[in-house]
């Protein structure tokens, strides 16, 4: 089997969708061939195939980018907006939150916004406080948005196809640290349905529920702890909202213990909602308090040593799992 990187997988998914439907267009800063096919090369080669009317390099105008995609979606297109870095969503939140998310509801279902907002972020490359945040909790709080983040190349391809096919707005978060990850090539026309988690590692003693970049850390910790005789299950949510509650509950019902892990700031993060829902549904069946692990409560720092101190480490994850398993009440 040949391998494919996440960059290649995303490019292929967009390419396939564009070949099928002329309404699939991509708007974003520097995305066309003239500008090099995007700063991370996700749209490399697409302008040559589909032209500048469908691969539109934009001015640096995030409100105009997202707003134009909202309008295009209202008229029946399936636009993809590229917001180069996730922190830049802060300058176009009005279009995302007040318009993309709400127009289906406020119109009584007369219109819908089939829009994918692709955005990149991630801690670990020294970009500092304004280019690194995972902001999924902001969007998860807004009714009408779906949020997706792949942990590997094959899922990136399948989730992107599903996101483009979705008739509602999808925030598609790509972690810069995952772009080079390789998967077995899933082949053409690979779809991963939205809202479905994957059990990446099966285990009996404790469930780690996570998504995105930290899935790889959880898998590594599960392997390390298995050598110590602990059986850890790893659930990759893949879709953060709406998350696969059935899969999470089934896993925690089996293990009786849960560690929720994300790269985003721990306080008020999505882990709090997942934890609350597990508590509501499984109170009395839990053998230990749910453990949460996330980023520190500060801006993401630049200095490498601080950055490493900011993000959840494998040692912290292992320690949380051991705390849960060793809980005596």
């Amino acid at each position: 089997m040949s391998k494919i990187t996440m960059v290649q997988a995303l490019n292929r998914a967009i390419d396939e969708a564009m070949a099928e439907d002329e309404g699939v267009i991509l708007l974003g800063e520097d995305v066309a061939a003239k500008q090099g096919g995007g700063v991370f090369k996700i749209s490399s080669g697409l302008t040559e195939k589909y032209g500048e009317s469908r691969i539109r390099a934009t001015p640096i105008s995030e409100q105009a980018i997202v707003g134009a995609c909202v309008g295009a979606a209202l008229a029946g297109f399936r636009p993809i907006a590229e917001i180069m870095l996730m922190n830049f969503v802060a300058v176009c939140m009005d279009q995302i939150v007040n318009h993309a998310a709400k127009l289906r509801f406020m119109s009584g279902g007369q219109t819908n916004v089939s829009l994918v907002i692709r955005t990149t972020t991630g801690v670990g490359v020294g970009f500092g406080g304004q280019h690194s945040d995972m902001l999924e909790a902001w969007f998860a709080h807004v009714p009408g948005l779906k949020i997706v983040t792949p942990s590997n190349a094959a899922d990136a391809q399948g989730l992107m196809r599903a996101a483009i096919a979705c008739n509602d707005p999808v925030i598609f978060i790509e972690n810069i640290m995952c772009y080079g990850l390789q998967s077995e090539d899933p082949g053409p026309n690979h779809f991963v349905p939205l809202g479905t988690a994957a059990t990446v590692v099966e285990g009996r003693d404790c469930s780690i529920i996570t998504y995105g970049r930290t899935v790889a850390d959880a898998v590594a910790v599960a392997a390390e702890l298995s050598e110590q005789g602990l059986s850890v299950e790893v659930i990759d949510l893949r879709t953060i909202a709406p998350f696969d509650e059935a899969a999470v509950l089934a896993s925690v019902r089996k293990t009786g213990r849960a560690v929720i892990l994300h790269e985003a700031v721990k306080a008020f993060g999505t882990g709090a909602e997942i934890s609350a829902r597990v508590n509501e549904k499984l109170f009395g069946q839990l053998k230990a308090p749910i453990q949460r692990i996330g980023g520190a409560f500060s801006a993401v720092p630049m200095a490498s040593c601080l950055e490493q101190a900011w993000i959840p480490t494998k040692a912290e994850i292992a320690s949380a799992v051991k705390t849960a398993i060793g809980w005596k009440g």
């Binding site: 105009a64 309008g71 295009a72 008229a75 029946g76 318009h99």
Partner: protein, 328 residues
Amino acid sequence: MTIDRETLLDIYTRTMKIARFDEKMRGLIISGKLATLYYTVRGQELVSAAMMAAVNKDDYLVTTYRGQHDQIAKGIPIPLLIAEIAGKATGTCKGKGGSMHITHPATGIMVTTGVVGSGLPIANGLALTSQNRGDRKITIVSFGDGATNIGAFHESMNMAQVYKLPVVFFCQNNRYGEHTAFADHTDVDNIANRAKAYNMKAIHVDGNDVSAMYDAATQAVEHARSGKGPVLLEAMCYRMMGHFFGADFSYMPPEHVEEMQREDPLPKLRKVMLEHQFSESDLDAIVSGIDDDIDAAIQFALDSPFPDADELSLDVFEEKIAEGMYGA
């Protein structure tokens, strides 16, 4: 330009539908029959009527919370509009939008936004689909003078001109942004001049002069439809009441109030109609027919049921929110 009688009659009919609707809405609120937030369009009837008389039914419209004149001029069925404002299940949006969020795609009304300036970026996207499809539709986006100081205005004007999108940016300069007078929020003589900064075609017109307004609208529409790119059309008018109906507007200086009463588009238009050999009785008959229709529309709205609570789980996503999810 001299305006032909047929067009004049069309504009008059649209204007009076707006005017009678607006007066009756205010009456409903004052009488206590309807408790709702309503942004009166008194003073802006003609600019909108003349603009919409120049576009096609399937052209797209994006407007704002003060948008009932645009929606009526574009042809929205008035019973569905009033039912929506009353929060009824029979409204255009099943009572889930209200006066600030009217949508009616069958008449091209794609978005009504309650956020100042947010319609402009969306208009570009609608127009972009027309450009890619070659369907020759244009998009009209309405906004006030106040909206021209928000970043979305600048971003949208620039992008529309870079892409040569078929958009008419229709600024209804009613001389107030909420409670702040034009001269206090903007240090330029007029909004149309701002188009120069984007290399965009601009038209500045007295919106209460029916011939001039219709001529300007026609020019703007032809320019956008020809593929030459967007236009900024600034129509000068007056907001003859407060920000929303019932709001204080004693901050308007007396000389401004005097000026706007002198320039009131309704008596001015009636005078033009009479000059064009329409008789008083012809005009009265038109208004009387409109009154009957609006009275029936109001009755329909008042008699209609409110939406079911089940609506909360519908239209959030394409699929219904399943029981147990999101606290539903």
